[in-house]
Amino acid sequence: MEKIKEIINTVLANRGKAPITDINNDSHLRNDIGFDSLDLAELTVRLEAEFDIDIFEDGIVNTVGEIQTKLAPL
């Protein structure tokens, strides 16, 4: 979770947005965290670089919990 949070905050910082401190499995990437499609694209690239998994490969992922599930086999 810490690593995912760190990557999310990197993406936010790159767009000049404030970092999030409170994050849980229900946090919605777009509604709660405020990501747009460019941010989501960047997030996938950064997660892929870290975990070697393309989280959006089989369709859209909405929440932090869903990211966790995708990365779970690791």
């Binding site: 910082a13 000049g16 499609s37 460019l38 694209a41 996938t44 690239v45 959006f56």
Partner: protein, 410 residues
């Protein structure tokens, strides 16, 4: 004893007398020139033309498989074959070699392979006349010293070589060396003329000393931005800048000062712009097999003045990157990134992405180690639309270039 060719890589300096002796002592010319040594390539080109033979120039880094694909299995078997020269070469000076070039090259063809941005390179044929169509020959140019900054197996390299040769100039190799060596060669040999891609210049700048001997700088093939022009003016304070439009297929067609191009009167009916793309008439295409009357260059231009027509080059058509349905011009992005005071060079690359189709990345050569991704991005926010701003930055020590001296984006 005037210098003909100097090559720091082979530590050889060959003067004109030696070159003429080498020509006189050669009894055959290779059907395929597949050499790494620049001097061998130059010598073979001249030999083919003075003996009325044809020659195919191959890059020395082509693999056997690539060559088989390019020339076919049957021809591949003849890769080493030599064509005997059936006239006695007995030149006593450069003038005689040049006179022989003009007289005997009528039936000669020089075959090249275009670097082809997509798929397999295409074979293009040139004659001595088409290669020297725009060569400027005069007694005033007799003392020019050329900094040779192209791959000698590509059209621009061959054109520069012939321009220098026909004026009996000295040629100093600059291509393929590191910055320090290039600067040393320019200074030591008092180079006066350099023709190179914008990438070549971008990669050598800034220089540690100013090279005052250089008076003529020609560039083209890619977009050339203002920051580079400013740095060039500093490095070459006596340089006069000229921008040339040339393609492997057509040779040199347009020339201009700065980045504004116009169509020369003699080509008025042979060049046109349709849908912002530059088109060339097939009669300019040499031996290029082309069914349509107009050849699509894939070069996207923007018209600045209508009468007479003047335009600027914007991008290559197939270089536009589709990011979630938005078209991004990599040159525009690179130019904006390079405007950052702590950035020396930049190269945009494309990464496949499951959300947007493509995502833009950028390699950065920074002059300040403390430069951060966030800082570059916030700088770019005032210059570019959000979708054009690279999402991934990689800090690198140098930008790799392909065999033509252009940058790769894949």
């Amino acid at each position: 004893m005037k210098l003909f060719y100097r090559d720091r890589a082979t530590k050889r300096s060959i003067n004109w007398e030696q070159f003429i002796e080498d020509i006189n002592n050669t009894q055959s010319v290779p059907k395929y020139c597949y050499a790494q040594d620049y001097y061998t390539i130059f010598k073979n080109i001249i030999l083919a033309f003075v003996s009325g033979n044809s020659i195919t120039i191959l890059d020395s880094d082509f693999s056997d498989d690539e060559i088989k694909q390019l020339v076919g299995e049957e021809e591949f078997a003849q890769l080493q074959s030599e064509i005997p020269i059936n006239r006695n070469l007995d030149f006593t000076n450069a003038e005689e070699v040049i006179a022989s070039l003009n007289k005997n090259s009528r039936n000669s063809k020089l075959y090249l392979f275009t670097s082809g941005t997509t798929g397999l390179p295409k074979k293009v044929s040139h004659s001595f006349t088409s290669l020297t169509r725009f060569a400027k020959i005069s007694i005033d140019r007799r003392n020019d010293v050329w900094g040779f900054a192209y791959n000698p197996t590509h059209i621009a390299g061959i054109q520069v070589f012939l321009q220098a040769f026909l004026n009996q100039n000295s040629i100093i190799r600059l291509f393929g060396f590191d910055n320090t060596s290039i600067e040393t060669e320019i200074l030591d040999f008092q180079v006066t003329n350099i023709s190179a891609t914008p990438t070549f210049f971008r990669l050598i700048l800034p220089l540690t000393k100013s090279c005052t001997s250089v008076t003529n700088i020609t560039t083209g093939g890619e977009k050339f931005d203002n920051k580079i022009i400013q740095q060039l003016k500093k490095a070459f304070p006596n340089g006069r800048f000229r921008n040339v439009y040339a393609s492997t297929e057509a040779g040199t067609v347009l020339a201009a000062e700065g980045d504004l191009f116009s169509i020369k009167p003699e080509f008025e009916n042979l060049v046109k712009i349709a849908d912002n793309e530059l088109l060339l008439h097939k009669s300019l295409m040499g031996g290029f097999e082309n069914e349509d009357e107009w050849y699509r260059t894939n070069d996207i231009v923007t018209i600045v003045n209508k009468n007479p027509i003047e335009f600027k080059f914007v991008a290559r058509k197939n270089e536009m990157i589709n990011v979630g349905g938005y078209k991004v011009n990599p040159h525009e992005v690179e130019e904006s990134v390079r405007m950052h005071p702590d950035i020396i060079n930049a190269r945009v690359f494309v990464k496949r992405n499951s959300i947007l189709g493509n995502i833009i990345g950028c390699e950065i050569v920074a002059s300040n180690e403390e430069l951060t991704e966030v800082a570059i991005r916030s700088y770019l926010q005032s210059l570019l639309q959000e979708f054009k701003i690279p999402r991934i930055f990689k800090f690198v020590s140098k930008i790799e270039v392909n065999r033509t001296g252009k940058v790769n984006r894949k």
